[in-house]
Amino acid sequence: MKPRVMIVDDEEKFVDYLSKRLINNGYDVTTSLSGEDAVEKVKRYNFDVVILDVLMPGLDGIETLREIKKIKPLTEVIMLTGHASVESGIEGMKLGAYDYLMKPCETQELVSKITKAHDRKADQEERIRAARVADIVSSPRSVLKE
């Protein structure tokens, strides 16, 4: 299955080109131009990796990250920052972001990080499944809990 990626940034052209390139690289890409919109989309759909700009009007990157982690905690988030603000990168990672990158970014690097993030998510989901299977096996009634 193609990894599902959402790009969130208020710079439309940037989002446009990046999504085209990621599509070319074989990803399933959704775009969003604001934090609020991104949160809505996360509620409705499932994404594997979200690429999130830190500095946005309205709901900023950190807030959006927080919301996403509340709704779908397994979603991996990669922060993008246009200014050399290491603090927001670190803050993001403390809140659960996978990594952070600086714009402009080398597409290869981005792709490699997306892959790693996606792998981690897949890995996590696998472990969750395994745990649930073990749970069901030990106590069949837990199926009903779902």
Partner: protein, 577 residues
């Protein structure tokens, strides 16, 4: 270069200051100095006058006493003689001669002596005149002496035209009266009048009630007796008389005991008052010397002071310049972060667009096919977008360069609304993205083009907007930048709906190094520098604020800066060639 008012007078600010200081210090000295000198001089003058007058009075008094004592003694002497010697009988002529020859050497003033009987006939006489058997019965003096017992005559010109004086006393042999009469010359008088004087400064006179001069003791020119004014009885009157040559003399006059004679002591006032005139001259010389000294010292003191002030001013200007630069660098630092972000966005887009274009071509080359129409479109669009972003980046770097350029105050025609709009466009993205703050523009279209320095205006407004953003976030808020035309001035305001300021805060807000931001965030220089810049542009910056109701900074700018400012700016930019 147009001459300013100051240059037309040939003085510049520091010269004017120097003259002001000198004038002030001279005034401070020159007002009390003459007052003191004048007062002291007056006291001295009064003292001298009083002393002179008192002196004169005292002399008059003493002379009066001396004369009265002299006369009384003569009378007593005669009375004693009449008691001691039985001179009342006729034929005592020889005896009278004996008496006279005894008496005369002892008291040289006796000129002659005579005895009169009860009928007034002089029956015995010793002296230079031929007065034997003369009948005086009808005379005034005989009648007086027979009534009063004593008679002292007026001074008259007698033997050899020398002034004489006659004294007569009455005596009795049994019940028959007889009279002793003597004539004395007035040498003694004169000696009495003159005695006790060192240096013969004063003449003394005895004058009768008809204003005839009886005695004049002294060597000076005689007075004109018609200019004498009689004193009251018992009074020692001080006044003036004229001499025959028209000079004015100071006099003290008093009646002698018999009230028939006026004793008058006259003095030339100028001689006494010479010392006073001398004192006055000395005072004037001293005053002028003091004036010159003070003037000279003041001049040098003022020069020194003004030079110090000039040095201090120059230093202050240098420091202020440094402060401005420092503040600029600080702002620059803050801007750098924002700018990096701003530039990174276009770069990111260029990176993606170029990468995308490359991928299309890569893909194509690997397929070894021609580019499809759609692919050609995509490539074209991508390259166009790249170019757009390049110019966007250039725009941003230009702004940065403009800000970093060493501040050359340049007065040019400025469309204020446009300048502010540009600034807000630049700032707006930064402010609104990071801090949830919106910037509202409210520009008056009627404001004219003004002559000012747009870079400095932008610096001031950025500072104000910065502060507004700082204080309204993180809750977010609104900043309103407005322009307005108001009688001959343009008003530029930056208002926010942040926390506002208490009155004591508002009062200090423009003070250098005053800040409410935590350490490291604020230097406290921003508003102080804004204040300085606005002043230099000929304007004024004020603040309206209430706690809880936000703050509004209002800058009032003239349509043109004043000539001084313009000149200074021109001069500076000319220096820089």
């Amino acid at each position: 270069m147009k001459p300013t008012k100051g240059k037309q007078l040939g003085l510049d600010y520091y010269q004017r200051l120097r003259w002001n200081i000198i004038a002030f210090m001279l005034l401070v000295v020159l007002i009390p100095l003459p007052l003191v000198a004048g007062t002291i001089y007056n006291y001295y003058r009064t003292y001298v006058r009083t002393t002179v007058i008192n002196n004169l009075k005292s002399i008059a008094e003493k002379r009066r006493e001396a004369i009265e004592v002299f006369l009384a003694e003569r009378v007593l002497y005669l009375k004693t003689l009449t008691q001691a010697l039985p001179l009342g009988e006729l034929d005592k002529r020889n005896e009278l001669e004996t008496v006279f020859s005894i008496v005369k050497p002892l008291s040289g003033s006796f000129v002659d002596m005579g005895l009169l009987d009860e009928r007034g006939v002089q029956f015995a006489y010793v002296g230079p005149y031929d007065l034997l058997q003369k009948d005086y019965r009808a005379t005034l003096w005989f009648q007086e002496v027979s009534r009063q017992g004593v008679y002292i005559s007026d001074v008259f010109l007698g033997y050899r035209n020398v002034p004489h004086l006659a004294i007569a006393v009455k005596s009795y042999t049994g019940s028959t009266p007889w009279y002793l009469r003597v004539t004395i010359n007035t040498d003694t008088f004169e000696r009495l009048l003159q005695s006790g004087q060192r240096g013969a400064l004063r003449d003394a006179y005895i004058v009768n009630r008809h204003k005839e001069i009886l005695v004049h003791a002294g060597t000076r020119e005689a007075i004109d007796p018609s200019s004498i004014a009689f004193p009251q009885p018992e009074e020692i009157r001080v006044g003036n008389v004229r001499t025959l040559n028209g000079h004015s003399l100071l006099t003290a006059s008093t009646w002698l005991n018999n009230d028939r004679w006026l004793l008058l002591v006259a003095e030339d006032p100028t001689s006494e008052f010479v010392t006073l005139a001398h004192a006055r001259q000395v005072a004037l010389y001293l005053f002028f010397t003091a004036f010159l000294m003070v003037g000279g010292l003041t001049y040098y003191a003022a020069r020194w002071i003004v030079r110090k002030i000039q040095a201090a001013d120059t230093e202050r200007d240098i420091v202020r310049e440094h402060l401005m630069q420092t503040s600029k660098l600080t702002s620059l630092g803050k801007m750098a972060a924002g700018l990096a972000h701003e530039i990174n966005n276009p770069l990111a887009i260029i990176s993606e667009a170029a990468g995308y274009a490359k991928e299309i071509l890569d893909h194509n080359w690997s397929e070894e096919a021609d580019l499809s129409g759609e692919q050609q479109c995509e490539l074209h669009t991508a390259l166009e977008d790249i170019l757009k972003e390049v110019y966007r980046g250039k725009d941003i770097t230009q702004r940065l360069l403009g800000f970093a350029r060493k501040m050359d105050p340049k007065i040019v025609e400025v469309d204020l609304n446009k300048t502010l709009a540009d600034l807000i466009k630049f700032y707006g993205r930064l402010a609104t993205k990071s801090r949830k703050v919106t910037i509202i523009q409210r520009f008056d279209r009627n404001i004219p083009v003004i002559r000012t320095d747009p870079d400095q205006i932008q610096q001031v407004v950025s500072n104000l907007v910065d502060n507004a953003v700082y204080f309204t976030s993180p809750k977010g808020g609104e900043i309103t930048v407005a322009t307005q035309l108001a009688d001959g001035f343009v008003l530029l305001s930056v208002a926010d709906n942040g926390p506002g300021m208490k009155p004591n805060l508002r009062a200090k807000i423009f003070d250098p190094f005053f800040t409410t931001k935590p350490v490291g965030d604020g230097t406290g220089l921003g508003l102080a520098i804004c204040y300085g810049i606005v002043q230099k542009l000929g304007g004024e910056i004020t603040v309206e604020s209430e706690e809880g109701k936000g703050s509004k900074f209002i800058i009032r700018l003239p349509l043109e800066p004043t000539e001084d400012e313009e000149e200074r700016h021109e001069a500076k930019s000319n220096d820089r060639g």
